[in-house]
Symmetry: C2
Subunit: 517 residues, 2 copies
């Protein structure tokens, strides 16, 4: 069967991923190591994600602010856990001027900064500095802010959207008078992420707590949403951290209680990034390219007029434009429908396949016969094929318009259901010995050779939650199988747990083991 991409998921999942990004014209690598250029289709998806999530963040009481891109080196040094976690991969600004020296433009030695500046890898320290000024009294709490920003982490191996040196994200930062309130915020925002991911991205996730070795540098607890990609790997799609009083101590974020004494705040932070776009691709894409949930499709219904440089073209185009205008007056998924006429002077078959690869949820093709007969012929991108053939449907124009909002809602739901069924079917219980883990995952694939790796789901196993060296031994053992602990799901099974898979001690919870991005 002829596919719209040159490589299939089964043949080579990593190459398939790159092909989708490239052929859907979403992003590309740039001349700057590890930094990407996000192209209009990719950025349009991000804008829709932003708009929806921003509303959810504001509805839960948070205000948007903007904090400096640069962080003084001394700030980073203040929180020791934070230093350990981030010091290895940061862009450091050391000069503030260039100069032509011996015919070569270079940093001016006379313009060296007294204190180097770090390009923010995350903003706990610079925002904490502001919090220490803004918070005086219990009346100022909780303090709930968010920012949309670019951050930089110097990554050695990068992949578009999934891991790039610079990426775009939102980071929420809050301060509270006590641990309970801060923890409640941490969990509330995790739930915002879950709802957003499932209803807007149609990407089902498992919410849970990360093991101590996977915590955010400086955090007391880190929670995540984990999504299952179509190669079975887990993608950490968002995190929410309870930071305890560590950052508050490091930056003197204190308040006067209603009793008149002084106390340190409890803080949280939480973020999601352009990585989510990678998650959407690997959750919904197929061998013909991207499939976009209508909620984040920059164009939901693309109308391709079949123009042939003939007199009837004018009528076809007029019909297409009128159809788009009528559709754009409708509301679907709580927003105005986004219909679009692609009148570019290229062959209509080429246009169709471009939009298939881009993942437009509905593609309408209008020929002279449709125009004359008040008909609409359309393709549902989520159900593109009937066997090998492209599945086209013809309906009356008026009926199509009447049903368009329901159609988009149905596609949104169908994509979720498909992904949810895959997730549920591939979380595997019942393994109680480490040998069972080894036999399920088999020997680790050789490095850098992920082509054709067999699909493996996640194992849900019971453990005693070892810490320190005992945990390190567990991590090491898993690493040999290229496995990581994703999280301990918030939703735990009822009943008695098997003994710890690793230590044989009584178990306290189940955790998910998986290969991951």
């Amino acid at each position: 069967m002829q596919r719209a991409l040159s490589v299939t998921r089964a043949d080579n999942f990593p190459e398939w991923y790159q092909a989708v990004v490239r052929d859907a014209d979403m992003a590309e690598t740039s001349a700057v190591r590890g930094c990407m250029v996000i192209k209009p289709w990719g950025y349009g998806i991000w804008e829709l994600m932003q708009q929806d999530l921003d509303r959810r963040i504001k509805n839960t009481g948070h205000d948007n602010c903007y904090f400096p891109l640069f962080i003084p080196l001394s700030f980073i040094a203040k929180e020791s856990g934070h230093v350990e976690g981030f010091a290895k991969e940061m862009a450091v600004v050391t000069h503030h001027r260039l100069k032509m020296i011996n015919g070569k433009l270079q940093p001016d030695p006379e313009a060296e900064l007294e204190e180097p500046l770090i390009v923010r890898p995350t903003s706990e320290t610079i925002i904490g500095d502001a919090f220490s000024r803004w918070i005086r009294s219990y009346r100022d709490l909780p303090l709930l802010v968010n920012q949309w920003a670019n951050v930089v982490r110097w990554e050695m191996r990068t992949r578009l959207f999934l891991r790039t040196a610079e990426f775009l994200w939102q980071e929420g930062h809050t301060a509270h008078s006590d641990a309970a309130d801060a923890m409640s915020e941490t969990r509330k925002m995790l739930e915002v992420y879950r709802t957003f991911s499932e209803t807007v991205l149609a990407m089902p996730v498992v919410t849970g707590e990360k093991p101590e070795n996977e915590r955010f540098p400086g955090a007391v607890n880190t929670f995540s949403i984990e999504a299952m990609m179509q190669d079975g790997k887990a993608l950490q799609a968002g995190t929410s951290h309870y930071l305890g009083q560590g950052f508050a101590h490091a930056q003197n974020i204190r308040f006067q209680t209603d009793q008149g004494d002084w106390a340190f705040c409890h803080t949280t932070s939480w973020g999601v990034s352009t990585r989510l776009i990678g998650g959407v691709i690997m959750t919904h894409g197929d061998d013909d390219g991207l499939r976009l949930p209508p909620a984040i499709a920059p164009r939901q219904i693309v109308i391709v007029p079949m123009l042939r440089d003939k007199p009837e073209d004018a009528e076809v185009l007029a019909y297409a434009n009128a159809l788009a205008a009528d559709l754009n007056d409708l509301t679907a998924l709580k927003h105005p429908v986004r219909a679009y006429v692609d009148a570019k002077p290229i062959k209509s078959a080429e246009k169709r396949w471009n939009w298939v690869r881009k993942g437009a949820p509905v593609i309408v093709e209008i020929g002279p016969r449709d125009a004359a007969g008040d008909q609409v012929t359309f393709i549902r991108r989520d159900a593109l094929r009937d066997g090998d053939k492209v599945s086209m449907q013809g309906v009356d124009r008026s009926k199509f318009i009447l049903k368009a909002p329901a159609l988009l809602t149905e596609i949104q739901q169908a994509l979720f259901d498909e992904a949810k069924a895959r997730l549920d079917a591939n979380i595997i219980d019942g393994v109680t010995e480490f040998a069972g883990v080894e036999s399920y995952f088999g020997a680790a694939a050789a490095d850098d050779d992920e082509a054709g790796a067999a699909f493996k789901g996640w194992l849900r196993v019971a453990w005693s939650r070892p810490t320190g060296e005992a945990l390190e031994a567990v991590i090491e053992k898993l690493k040999r199988l290229k496995l990581t602990i994703r999280n301990a799901p918030l939703d735990q099974p009822a009943g008695t747990l098997a003994p710890c898979l690793f230590t044989g001690a009584p178990s306290v919870e189940t955790i998910l083991l998986a290969r991951s991005y």
Copy 2:
């Protein structure tokens, strides 16, 4: 008379500006030299500006993208005019890791970059690099993109919003097949800026072309919108550049024409920034603080319930909430009305003055008598005082709701009219000798002492448009009076011009002379 700010415009305009920014809680300086923290009220204004301008940019056919924060040093070096203009003030990244050496965290000498990276001061070069890959044929033109981003220019003397090392902006970048199309784009976006500034910010501007010494580094023509602040100074509020083929040559942005041969593109760029917020403050603010045009007021109608810890509080609060709900169902200035109940547990007088300083367009005060009598008592921020007293109006609740959209539209217009009258009255014609310039502006104020400087408008004078050294002599002469040429207005007077004010040669156009930010 008691004022809500501690300093008046007349006493000390620069200090007044700082007081407005501080007391309206819009922004503050940060621990990082020259970088600001934009607080919720300031950022909320920026978000509304963004939303509106973004729509205008998209409606004129531009797509949003995102390009890397970092620019390889070699890119900057390619366009010689560009180097000259920007090399003096850029943040330079030289290392990608920190290391603890002798107990001190510092840039790791082993992690020095082979080629330093510049934090973008503007993105012509990095976007040009992408354009050189994206453009192949005349069919790819025009290529019209925009990005919303942070940029960094190392500034020695900074002022919140007006001049900061890091600022937020949008930068449009386009490529065209010929000069006429590129110039038409340049002028079209200038007009978008003018309309946006006048209708959304209620800030009247003069559109015109900058003299050659004020052109963007590397540009062939630079156009600007210039606004008059309440101290008479000009603020360059947005620029649009025709870049000719210079950047296209430097970065090999070429296309195959419909004749099959190769040609270099003509490019443009245009931008506005968070500086506009400074312009809004200095255009509309008064001695009681900020006055916001409703189109960019994060809260347009603020309802202050007068709570006194008494049983009737519940009724007052319920009445206030119901009023806000009814108002939020309305549409004004093409968007849902933004009404808000300020129920914070502080004195209502304090709340009133907070909102006066923040510039909320309408402030409603609800006491038990209003609630019982179905009344609304309100203040129009644009007409706060009647003599020394605050001017309050009482109306029936139903009438207030009915008139609210018209009230907001009226305030938007009133602020524009006031600023427009000031601009028109203070562009002064008739000076034809340099002595007239000297006598109008008087001796230059001593450096750093702008306190109490007398209001001076702009002079519109005729000139012969000298270039090169002759122009430099003019600039030098003006500099002694602290004057600059703002632009040569697109809208030129009819009739014969006086001889050139500077050279006595026949004039070709009029220009505006002013002190400026």
